[in-house]
């Protein structure tokens, strides 16, 4: 049996403006994660074009994509994705350490953690934090290099309702107060009211 080629995304055209809180919904297999991975430069589409700040990011090298992920894009995964052996502060500092000296990135990481309400947990290891707190650390890490866009892949999927609400509150605050552009995937219908723009994907198309 050979491999079956599946067209995960088909004819999806969209523009995300600066300051948008853009939510993508859809059933499992609708192509929403694939879209987020493409937009977040974690994967390359076979065809098409993705433009970031008027630059076609599909035509640049892996090295340049890596630099863009570092400076311009923040990514929040469903499963927190923290480095187990680093404290909350060190996890947050890590991307900044690529660009700045410690005397700059350490206070910035503290600010970032304060912004997500984890001022008192800077020295905790991920295993010493709850799921919601770990996700907040991941948000703080995504924010550290002041990216143009934050991508969040079902960030509340593994959280209880209280923690999920807190996380969404953080996103809302980042969007409204700091004008961060946020692109988020969710399954939950009651989370869509946070968005100022919403699309639903079905079978790889915007429905």
């Amino acid at each position: 049996m050979g491999e079956v080629k599946v067209r995960a995304l088909n004819g999806v055209t969209l523009t995300i403006d600066e300051g948008d809180f853009f939510i993508i919904t859809g059933r499992n297999g609708s192509g929403k994660s694939t879209l987020l991975h493409q937009l977040g430069l974690l994967d390359r589409p076979d065809r098409g074009m993705i433009t970031l700040q008027n630059k076609n990011v599909l035509k640049i090298s892996e090295k340049q994509r890596s630099a863009l992920r570092l400076r311009e894009l923040g990514y929040i995964f469903q499963e927190y994705a923290l480095v187990a052996e680093l404290t909350a502060l060190e996890n947050v500092m890590l991307p900044a350490m690529m660009l700045e000296p410690s005397r700059v990135c350490r206070p910035r990481a503290k600010d970032s953690l304060e912004k997500v309400g984890l001022k008192d947990k800077v020295n905790n290891l991920p295993r010493q934090l709850s799921g919601g707190e770990q996700q907040k650390v991941a948000i703080a890490r995504a924010l550290i290099n002041n990216p143009s866009v934050l991508f969040a892949d079902e960030p509340t999927a593994n959280l209880d309702s209280i923690a999920a609400k807190e996380i969404l509150g953080v996103f809302k605050a980042l969007n409204e107060h700091d004008n961060h552009t946020i692109v988020m995937i969710t399954h939950e219908q009651d989370e869509t009211h946070y968005a100022n723009r919403l699309i639903n994907l079905a079978d790889g198309r915007i429905s």
Binding site: D43, F77, M98
Partner: protein, 399 residues
Amino acid sequence: MRYEARIPFFLIARHLVRGSKWQLVLIIFLMSIAFINLVFITSLFNGIIKSSNDQIIDTSTGDVYITPNEGHDFIEDSGSTVGSIEDTSGVKAASARMLVPANMKFENKKGNFMTFAIDPENEKEVTIISKKMVSGSYLDADDTDSIILGRQIAGGPDVENISSFKTAKVGDKVTLSFDSIKHEFMIKGIFDTNYIETDYRAFITQKALKKIAPHYNDKATSIAIKIDNKGEEKKIVSRLKDKDLGLSIYPWQDMAGMMKSVEKSFISIDVLLGLVGGMIAAVTIFIVIYIDISNKRQQIGILRAIGIKPYLIRTVYVLQSTFYSVCGVILGTGIFFAVLVPYFKAHPFVLPLGDAILIVNYPDFVLRAEIVIWVAIISGLIPAIFVTRMPMLDEILGK
């Protein structure tokens, strides 16, 4: 670029401090065993070679060995020749030996054992036979009816030599027969040098030989020489040759014919075992690092996703492998010198060639340490390259 170089050090330091201590200890222990495996056999072979060489020197040839020139059976005027040799700068002592072509008889058993007539005092200065008496005592210069036997001739509970006398002991009589001469000697002592070739020998005094066979007086078939400084054998040989003694003069190495071929065989075996040991170390280290990296695939994917460059991630694993291997070498060196070397010094391997301990050839030891470290670095780098070239999403999603 300026700042990113510290990322691998930052990550590795946190990994070592906060990672599983048991895993760390086990990996380092494994590395140390891989290293010990590489150095142990070499050191043992070095020990066997050194031990047997020392045995040859200390119980048989001395540092320099003299024989009659080709076509001559004896060294004539051996007394004055020994005097002349001892006057040579760098020579500590010399002992002339006359090999008596005798047949030895004890009770109803006979054997052709090499029997030498010696000056006991001179021999004491050159070889250690006098210190290896396990029964009775060594010869005195005035002994004319006494003989000392090697343990392989006298026999004993743990002597397996079928031609030995088996039960000969101090005070018993043996008869030497040669050139239609027969003379009875009393066994004055039995020596055991643990060097089988020497332990097949017997010694009487020159005075005894002069008494029973005057025609051998002042003759010798060989002279063994002890020198002041080891390693200067060739220099002393050259000085002695300059004296034009009319004799064949050799450094001990030229007389160690069998040991030379044994040494060559050991070197070949050692190279082969070194290659096999190196491969085992490489595969072991590779598996350890590969499992470690495989367990961290998702983390590696996340690091890549947040913009950490792949070369930095690879550097983490190279540093990690280097750390493991350097610690393994240090621990292995500690175990080797603090445990194995003293243990085998106290309980040497008892071989027919002599007691073997572990002897380290330091340049070789350092080379093997370098091999372990480089093998570890390469074994860490290969899976790290492999993993950082995988599709990032496969790593993150654990596909």
